[in-house]
Subunit: 267 residues, 2 copies
DNA sequence: CGGACTGTTGAAATATATCAATATTTGTGG
DNA sequence: CCACAAATATTGATATATTTCAACAGTCCG
């Protein structure tokens, strides 16, 4: 019972000193009301901490909810029949993990902590309730799903059709952009906790070739690397290498429903 | 003004003799009430017919709505910076086209009719109203988006990481499955109106290599081809070639909201 | 301190792209 | 219905990016 006690104490600590769920993804879509913020912050169960390499959820397991990522990096991966692993996405804080599996009896992907990570579980029933009570948040979740589709479409465009260097450029620019929104980029320099093997599984390349590609880009003066820090030296050149430009989603789409009136009091 | 008259008469004809929008995608998720069916059938503007090769909507154009596909095949494509074209998906009847662009100021993809096709436009404002009025349909649309994400994830798994033959097997099995739901498959034989170049743009292969791959599969006895008809001769072998199994979505997920009570009268 | 990951580099093998030429099909106007 | 042009399919020879295999050097972490 020893592990249990550690887990319980962690839960207790989280309940009293709960970290904040980053809402920048929602804020990019619309200005949230105070009630909406409160609802979203209270959505999940108490956040749980897991260590690097730990599995949060395994492909094929029954899945009856999603996970909110509070802190850290988490990968979403699938194993192909050939035995190869495919990483579909590297999730950053603020992402909602595992939503595609909501329509399946079992989880479609495996969620693994790339760094230490804090996540919070949200049962499907809770989401159902939110959908019925807050049509505006429902619409935003729908839009978030469409944004994820766009991301996947762009990934599809870069993988297979583009050269290794082009794919890599896109990957680095995407991270640069997403980490930038979290304030984790300084002078175009950021932490890349993924191993080269992971990057390979993400881009559809051999780890060996990932290495050669990165070294080549360093030699060309496109990037600098030191340990697990990367600096994008020549952003312009990287952008012109990338098969697609980074997308700018629309701010406050006109067709969002009005905020619901039912909150703690007025709105 | 000549084209206008043709267009107008077509609209009028459609208004009186409107074709049905295939709802099998929704029916796979939940049993629709009569009111829901009525709402969905009345959702779009009068359907419009377009001919093979015609463009329904171009990438970069302002997009303030989506398209329901009533009949025919439509491709969704993007042009990369390199000039290469990427086809993201071949849409079949019942699909909703262009939803990812709802979160963007301009369309993310170009919609082109692969065969003659009938589509109906749905302004974003109409969808907004539906979201607010029918939370259950909103939830189903959300789930449909998640299903599309799964499809894209699988496509990502097959493109770039799998061999040409494996990708092709998956592509053919996917069509076999989707066309089957529409009743367009007889004895594992179906029409494939896409050119080999299109298939190449879809799988990330050269048209030349698409040809070699198909011919190879014929020689191996996996498939048969005659004109633009394909027959999947050895389904078992194709399935074991495919990098991922075809997914079976969950029927009637328990967390769907209850149908709204407001029907033909009150709102 | 040592063992296990992780990164780096080289040489050979291979799947796919590219270039090019010819056959076949499809669509269109007479 | 035919004839003709354009689009599409087919096949061969060669080029190339990436993989695979293999060996070794760092680096992390208990």
């Amino acid at each position: 019972m020893l592990p249990e006690t550690g887990y319980m104490s962690l839960l207790k600590a989280a309940a009293t000193d709960r970290p904040e769920y980053p809402l920048h993804r929602f804020n990019a879509l619309a200005e949230l009301t105070r009630d909406e913020v409160r609802d979203l912050q209270a959505l999940g169960e108490p956040p749980v901490r897991c260590r690097r390499g730990e599995t949060i959820r395994t492909e094929g397991q029954p899945a009856d909810g999603i996970h909110l990522l509070y802190e850290g990096w988490v990968s979403s991966s699938v194993v192909l029949r050939s035995g190869k692993r495919l990483i579909q996405k590297l999730h950053l804080p603020g992402d909602m993990l595992g939503t595609p599996s909501m329509v399946l009896p079992a989880a479609a992907d495996t969620l693994t902590a790339v760094t230490g990570a804090t996540t919070s579980f949200v049962p499907n029933a809770t989401l159902q309730e939110l959908f019925a009570r807050r049509p505006r948040i429902a619409a935003m979740l729908f839009m978030a799903a469409q944004l994820e589709r766009l991301t996947l479409m762009d990934a599809l465009a870069s993988t297979g059709r583009a050269s290794a260097t082009e794919s890599m450029a896109r990957f680095l620019l995407d991270l640069h952009h997403r980490l930038g929104m979290l304030g984790a980029v300084e002078q175009d320099c950021f932490d890349l906790p993924a191993t080269q093997e992971m990057v390979g599984d993400l881009l559809g390349l051999t780890p060996v070739h990932v290495n050669r590609t990165l070294r080549g880009m360093v030699k060309q003066g496109l990037i600098e690397m030191k340990g697990r820090k990367v600096r994008l030296v020549d952003l312009a050149a990287l952008r012109s290498l990338s098969p697609l430009p980074v997308r700018k989603p629309l701010f406050e789409p006109s067709w969002l429903p009005a905020p619901s009136a039912n909150g703690s009091k007025a709105v």
